[in-house]
Amino acid sequence: MLFVSQLINGLQLGSIYALVALGYSMVYGIIKLLNFAHGDIIMVGGYIALFTLTFGQHPLIAAALTVAGCTVLAIVIEKLAYTPLRFAPRLSLLITAIGVSILLQNLAQYFFSATGRSFPGHLLLPQGGIALGSVQVAYTSIITILTSLISMVILTILVRRTRLGKAMRAVSEDQDAARLMGINVNSVITFTFAVGAALAGIGALMYSVRYPLMFPTMGAMLGLKAFVAAVFGGIGSIPGAMLGGYAIGMLEVLVTAVGLSGWVDGVVFMVLICVLMVRPTGIMGRSIMEKV
């Protein structure tokens, strides 16, 4: 029974990682950028939720504001910092992303102070749980898992079935060819950032409920791990990011359950390295042909 509850626990954490990993994966798929600022967008989302909830807003309004805030922030970052570097070397773009990440962390530290604040999770999601046989399952776990599943289904439909999704796939395939076909590459890229950030906003809500301590660098480790999840599953691939998210979440919960909680971060990265050694582009990643 302990195993089943750990399994649900792992699924809950894995859903959060999967949501965040999708953002990394989509952005990488479209402009080959490791968006280091993604984790910090989640941090900002967490603070938005914290403030709207403590000001007594309805949970749905708080959730909507969080998702909207993350999306707007991502668009602003994309327009100000990444668009000017569209044709710059990849290294410059990557360093800019790191710069944005540090900037967000330090702005948050300046405005919200470095001390932790506790997140009023009970205002957002109902407490308690239901008994499935002899296992007690918290509502928060169920809601987290369901929300992430629904978000992923919507995302898959968006990418596979709509015109915009087709444009996104085209741009990630070949930017120049997509431009020649009349696709507005810039707006498609901005849209991708926005979708990734909206998922991050949902992830921020779920993460804050699970780990209800907010501080300006909370997004850094979450970002790194979600990023590991994206790489693990094969960066650029949407099912890969989901799979990677669940795998990393499960792994983390299992390592903690065995009693090695101090080693969690190390084990996560170790597994990543082992996977990359065997399959350099992740489990579901396409292998890239090296061309002269």
């Binding site: 990488y28 080959k32 490791l34 910092a81 000017p84 570097l85 710059a88 070397p89 990849r90 290294l91 410059s92 773009l93 990557l94 360093i95 800019t96 790191i98 710069g99 944005v100 540090i102 900037l103 962390q105 330090n106 702005l107 530290q109 300046y110 850094a220 790194l224 990023f227 590991v228 790489v231 101090g262 080693w263 971060d265 190390g266 990265f269 170790m270 990543l272 390295i273 990359l276 050694m277 350099p280 582009t281 090296e290 002269v292």
Partner: protein, 337 residues
């Protein structure tokens, strides 16, 4: 007109003389008690940041890879050096030298250990995997409680990082990396940065040179780590987190990728700046990160680009100009007469 050149032995003479002059002046100032303890610590800090930046620049600027785990190598060196020094098994001077070498060698071994698998991957994946290794090293150091005292910190490390020791280390690391880059091997490393496939098809052993650059870089990072330990007297694994790697990267990028002079200047400026701008302490990291973004957007090659300072070249220009002026004057006078 033939340009004036200073013969090579004279160049070396000038450089050596200047280095010794700096050494004597610096040593006199730090020993005289003119500066407080805090100021001395800053000067030492500039020293090991120079070593860190120059060694990272070898991999980032010259080899064109982006490792994000430089703090990991620094950590390995710091703990190796500190544990050796704490054992007090050799007389002091010998102990300092052996401890620093040990720190460097252990870090270089880790560099090879990490480099061989990591360098099979390219670009972003290399960045991720080095980031992962850096984090693993930190986690291991935190959990090896019996040796490293984990998060409580390794205390009572002998304070061996005097100005003299740090200065000599800075000079050696800059000189080694400079001469390496001017050699055949350096050109091989640069060719990998410019175009790996072309380099490989011209017979450059790319994997060999990548691992070599990685190992040399790790070696000096390890030495810088030991100096860091000897300066602070206490080590905690949290000293070597991801942000430390990023700070070093920031120095290299702002100074200019592939410019040793840039790295040195940026290391000095970014270490001194917080103390000069004490009133702006709250905004320091905000300003740095904005600088990083703005530099990347407007001058992606860094503030110095790939410019490298050469005293001899400047002297040659000045003397050459003076000589040609003298000749012109002589010519005119001759004409009048």
């Amino acid at each position: 007109m033939k340009a004036f050149t200073i013969p090579t032995p004279v160049r070396y003479g000038i450089n050596t003389a200047l280095l010794i002059l700096f050494l004597i002046a610096g040593n006199a100032i730090t020993q005289s008690g003119l500066l407080g303890r805090a100021q001395n610590a800053i000067i030492i800090q500039v020293g090991f940041f120079i070593i860190l930046a120059v060694s990272l620049n070898l991999v980032t600027g010259y080899l064109g890879q982006l490792p994000l785990g430089h703090a990991g190598f620094m950590a390995v060196g710091a703990y190796a050096g500190a544990l050796f020094w704490r054992a007090h098994i050799l007389p002091e001077t010998l102990s300092i030298v052996v401890g620093l070498l040990l720190a460097g060698v252990v870090a270089a071994l880790f560099g090879i250990l990490i480099g061989v698998p990591a360098l099979r991957l390219r670009g972003d994946y290399l960045a991720i995997i080095t980031l992962g290794f850096g984090e693993i090293i930190r986690v291991v150091l935190t959990n090896l409680d019996s040796i490293t005292y984990g998060a409580r910190g390794l205390l009572n490390i002998p304070r061996h990082s005097s100005f003299l020791v740090v200065y000599i280390c800075v000079i050696i690391s800059c000189a080694v990396i400079h001469t390496l880059m001017k050699s055949r091997h350096g050109r091989a490393i640069l060719s990998i940065r410019e175009n790996e496939i072309a380099a490989e098809s011209c017979g450059v052993k790319t994997t060999y040179y990548k691992v070599m650059a990685f190992a040399v870089s790790a070696f000096f990072a390890g030495i810088a780590g030991a100096l860091f330990a000897g300066n602070l007297g206490i080590l905690v694994p949290a000293n070597f987190d991801f942000m430390t790697s990023i700070n070093i990267l920031m120095i290299v990028v702002l100074g200019g990728l592939g410019s040793m002079f840039g790295s040195v200047v940026a290391a000095a400026v970014l270490t001194f700046l917080p103390f000069v701008l004490q009133p702006l302490a709250d905004y320091r990291m905000i300003i740095y990160s904005l600088m990083l973004i703005i530099v990347m957007i407007f001058k992606p090659s860094g503030l110095m680009g790939s410019y490298d300072f050469s005293l001899s070249r400047i002297l040659e220009k000045v003397i050459g100009k003076a000589l040609s002026l003298g000749r012109d004057k002589g010519g005119k006078n001759h004409g009048k007469a």
